[in-house]
Amino acid sequence: MKLRICIPVLAVLLVLGFEAPPARADDVLQTQCAGCHALKKPEVFDIDRLWQRQGPDLYYAGIKFNRPWLEKWLQDPVRIRPAGEFYRHHVKAGEKEDVIDEASLKPHVKLSAADAAVMADALMKLKGPADLVTPGAFKNGAVSASMGAMFFNKLRGCAACHQSKPGVGGRSGPELYSAAARLQADYIYSYMKDPQRIDPLVWMPKLDLSEPDLQRLTGYILLLGNTEGNP
């Protein structure tokens, strides 16, 4: 009699068990992400590592990204760096100027909505070393779009490597017209102040920008997402 009751219960438990095995986010991070991204601070930073890594470091994703953007992007990943990461692997000489070797660029894995939410939570927990970003560094003061554009395009040369609109600007760095949705303001400020401190040996120079420049350019980059009609 007891056995007759137990068998259906066991069957139900088995079915439930097979249908919803909750994946541990940390396990998924290790299996899905660790192959291309550093999830812990590397012990050694050298130029060879820069050439070997397959994607940007994520061990400080929690102080870099905005979570809503991350969750959305993981479901529909689109390229942020026109020439990929690392650009040198994906450019070749063209008839006149160098061109991006599109065939060499591979799409990022696409996640379901449920998995993206779990993954975004897990990534936001990765904060990296405590002093990478100064909380509250960006003061969010009033920004003149025209002055910002002048500094971005002409006076500080950011446009040489970054796009402020789709198709306008350099292609070796990440596009910045989507930075407002993608990145935290203090991260933008801190990265511009000293990119080498956050991503050692990266191909963005340290420009020794003044405090007003940092405030102005951070504000302008945040404005791009709102003024250009881009995400």
């Binding site: 040198r88 100027e97 160098d98 040369g157 292609r171 080498q196 040996l201 191909w203 120079p205 340290k206």
Partner: protein, 130 residues
């Protein structure tokens, strides 16, 4: 020695000889001297100055001032080593050139920048400019 092993040994000797001749050719010896500088150039400079070092990098499209063509012996030959060094270390503005050439002194050491200057002389096949 068995004939089969002798043939293998002779083959290996011939391959080593050929390899030795190849490595000792003047061009390869010269390139070997610039291994570090080439690596740095490929990492930091190619984005603007191009895969072929001709100023046609992927960022060059739309730039108001075109990046320097490092293969241009005439143009490069007129620039002193110290000016090249300063341009790399402190940026284009430091030598009255474009702001679009950034300062790499926060990334590269003085020795690495000197190596790059020497490498540029190798690329342009031009003198020291002094």
């Amino acid at each position: 020695m068995k004939p089969e092993r002798m043939v293998r040994s002779l083959g290996a000797g011939a391959a080593a000889l050929a390899l030795g001749l190849t490595l000792s050719s003047p061009a390869d010896a010269a390139d070997k001297d610039y291994t570090s500088a080439t690596h740095h150039y490929d990492t930091y400079c190619v984005q603007c100055h191009g895969v072929n070092r001709n100023g046609q990098g992927i960022n060059s499209v739309g730039m108001s001032v075109q990046p320097r063509d490092h293969t241009d012996a005439k143009g490069m030959g007129g620039i002193p080593d110290d000016e090249l060094y300063n341009a790399i270390k402190n940026g284009g503005l430091s030598v009255n050139k474009s702001v679009l050439m950034p300062a790499w002194g926060g990334v590269l050491s003085d020795v690495e920048i000197r190596e790059l200057v020497a490498y540029l002389r190798h690329v342009c096949n031009c003198g020291s400019g002094q």
